[in-house]
Amino acid sequence: MGRGGSHAAPAAASPPWHALPDEVWEHAFSFLPADSDRGAAAAACRSWLRAERRSRRRLVIANCYAASPQDAVDRFPSVRAVEVKGKPHFADFGLVPPGWGAAAAPWVAAAADGWPLLEELSFKRMYVTDDCLEMIAASFRNFQVLRLVSCEGFSTSGLAAIAAGCRNVRELDLQENEIEDCSIHWLSLFPESFTSLVTLNFSCLEGDVDITVLERLVTRCRNLKTLKLNNAIPLDKLASLLRKAPQIVELGTGRFSADYHLDLFSKLAAAFAGCKSLRRLSGAWDAVPEYLPAFYCVCEGLTSLNLSYATVRGPELVKFISRCKNLQLLWVMDLIEDHGLAAVASSCNKLQELRVFPSAPFDAAEQVSLTERGLVDVSASCPMLESVLYFCRRMTNEALITIAKNRPNFTCFRLCIIEPHTPDYITHQPLDAGFSAIVESCKGLRRLSVSGLLTDRVFRSIGAHADRLEMLSIAFAGNSDLGLHYILSGCKSLKKLEIRDCPFGDKPLLANAAKLETMRSLWMSSCSLTLGACRQLARKMPRLSVEVMNDPRRACPLDSLTDESHVETLYVYRTIAGPRSDTPACVQIV
């Protein structure tokens, strides 16, 4: 190990670099932004390992089963902020049965024991109970941030425990959780002396909220920057809340509908006029078009607009969005239609992220005029556009090739053509050429979802060109094992691969077994896998956990199944924790 080459240090002038005290290295490591860089530093030598792990403050456990809670606590004793993610992504769409796992309780228990100074806890797609929340409230004297995303298993009783017990909580951020409403007025359990709230997001809560209590809370928390309301707040109350919190930076309006009355409109417009710092806006569920102009005075300052649950449509919608000249993020329903996106393209040139969601995903008869045209327009006119999620019903290779040429700077491209196997609607060809163009042009692409009619050819392109790709989602695509082989033998940076309903079988899986240990996880459902291959994979790769599930409603009798039997769902992930012990009956670890 060199000591800096030709510059030999004069004796006693300064210590050799590897004898510097830990604090120096800890300070140096604090400048490393990415956890992966810190991890690499820790692997260099023992003293760096010691210095790095003792000074690590933020920890992300991207798969709660990759390591045990005790492993995490032992290795990183000084952590102040933890994020743990549980179920695989396809759980969002109902492909993972209830009771599958991802319980937060072991993590909370280990944290309570090993990280008493913990300040931030974030759970995503995990099963969080009221007991967990009560334990959090009781265990961390300086607890400040609780973020729960796509979780379930808890109720407003748990929230009450947090409100009552966490004296210093700054952020309570509940995103898209299933929360049981126990009709407990949890908001009123924040003590009168409590003023430290900076973020309050209860938009996913279904129940009623005591508005008077909310108003008092908002009034005394002068540092409140983010407020996201639920369905229970009527429009006139929204106006009065805004008057009490004009310093707000991010607002979720919850509902935005009422019969049109001029005085209510004026009240709203005046309230918004007072919010000079408002930058991010969401909600507007059930928005009534006549009320949209109330937003006009904040449009100029908005950088983020999330109307993805807003069912409003028509000229008022387009006029409103077109006024938001500084928009960087726009999430909207396909009710905006192509002409609306054309207006966005010409008005919102700073756009970086666009998501267009389907208003009628299950109803083919519901025709909304949103096609490939809208996406082409936006990608042509918005030079900073780098992230797209787009649901539509038709696409052409030509459109995709044009988009690829215009926007080589995509980092995330997710296209969902709603009907499986839909070809180019003009040429009737598969969309291989279009998606190939995307991966060839967008060298920085990190996330890709493909759809429509696709053959193995597109996977050859993806495997060969998508060097930075970290997450790939495939559905109803490909025509042979070759497709999967191209992906697993290429895609140098692949971390997460999720596949459903593709004709991929055992051979490419086994041929690329080693690849799976370089990835976080692989999901394959409704493909052509047999149990024998899964058994072989598990034998060959002891550091992978190979989980199979056939019928989510029945126990999986693994021992009685032959090697030839079909595997409906395979979920493989690398782990240092060995096989988990909390599988439900329908899931078996091979």
């Binding site: 109902g94 407990i184 059930d286 196997h421 060809q429 025509n479 004709p503 490419p508 052509s528």
Partner: protein, 283 residues
């Protein structure tokens, strides 16, 4: 089929050329290579000849644009060719044990399109609120817009809410029975926590009745999209289903003036009044 004979044990890339170096022995024994999948059975691959740029149907290249050797995999789509030339070949990859092949062709595909549950309910209820905006609400109760099937229902005094499938019921009478069935056990448990432990005496729990006519200890109310609370039972069933957002079972004695009837009559709490309105339970 060229120099890459069947007996070859080296891994070939798609051009039929041997792959550079680092394949371990185990990989080589798997004999992976390219070729038409249909012939080999079991989804295997076979070794290719040299790429001759030959894109004929019978040619070795399976990768020519527009021609896929196997039909699209999911049986769901076999009925709807969508102009894919592959549909004419008709046969999916040979895997005889694929459970998804037993799916009926027109069965809804689980988890597709990939939208979250929040968004599913929005899709159906958004049409209800869209119509609301256009004032079509009162028009055609029998063609009521399809409602999200499960509506939340809470009962006074019971912390756990339930969900009820209105599409599975067809009249108020059945709704009342369903509510009784849902909450009777929980209600009895609330009254006497000790009884909850024993399963032997279900017949001792008291039926929850009189929900619709004000005669019972509890009354059924609902909240509509405007946030108003309305007594259940006044409007035709279809109209009710399309406008109800959630249900509540309230103590009759607690009914306050925040609850209204569709006709805004102040005598809502008077049991006699309920009999006077023309109320056909199973219209």
């Amino acid at each position: 089929m060229g120099e890459a004979a069947e007996g070859s044990k080296t891994l070939h890339n798609w051009m039929g050329e041997p792959r550079p170096g680092d394949q371990d022995d185990e990989d080589k024994t798997l004999q992976l290579s390219l070729g038409l999948p249909g012939g080999g059975g079991g989804g295997g691959w076979t070794t290719p000849g040299r790429e001759k740029g030959n894109h004929s149907v019978a040619g070795s290249s399976m990768l020519s644009l527009g021609y896929s050797n196997a039909a699209p995999f999911s049986p769901c789509s076999q009925g709807k060719a969508k102009g894919s030339p592959a549909a004419s070949t008709g046969h999916a990859l040979a895997s005889t044990h694929n459970a998804s092949q037993t799916r009926s062709p027109n069965a809804p595909v689980i988890g597709w399109p990939p939208v979250r549950t929040f968004r599913r309910n929005l899709a159906t209820s958004s049409r209800a609120s869209l119509d609301h905006q256009k004032g079509k609400m009162a028009a055609k109760p029998e063609e009521a817009t399809k409602r999200a099937p499960f509506v939340k229902i809470n009962m006074d005094g019971i912390p756990i809410g339930r969900k009820i499938d209105l599409n599975a019921l067809d009249c108020y009478e059945n709704l009342s029975l369903a509510v009784d069935k849902l909450f009777r056990g929980l209600h009895a448990a609330q009254q006497d926590p000790l009884a909850a432990g024993t399963r032997e005496c279900p017949q001792e729990s008291v039926a929850i009745s009189g929900l619709l006519d004000g005669t019972g200890e509890y009354t059924l109310v609902y909240e509509d999209y405007e946030g108003d609370r309305v007594l259940v039972g006044d409007v035709p069933w279809g109209m009710f289903v399309s406008s109800v957002k959630r249900l509540r079972v309230l103590k009759t004695s607690d009914l306050s003036s925040s609850v209204s009837t569709s006709s805004q009559h102040p005598a809502y709490a008077d049991p006699a009044f309920r009999f006077l309105t023309s109320h056909n339970p199973c219209s």
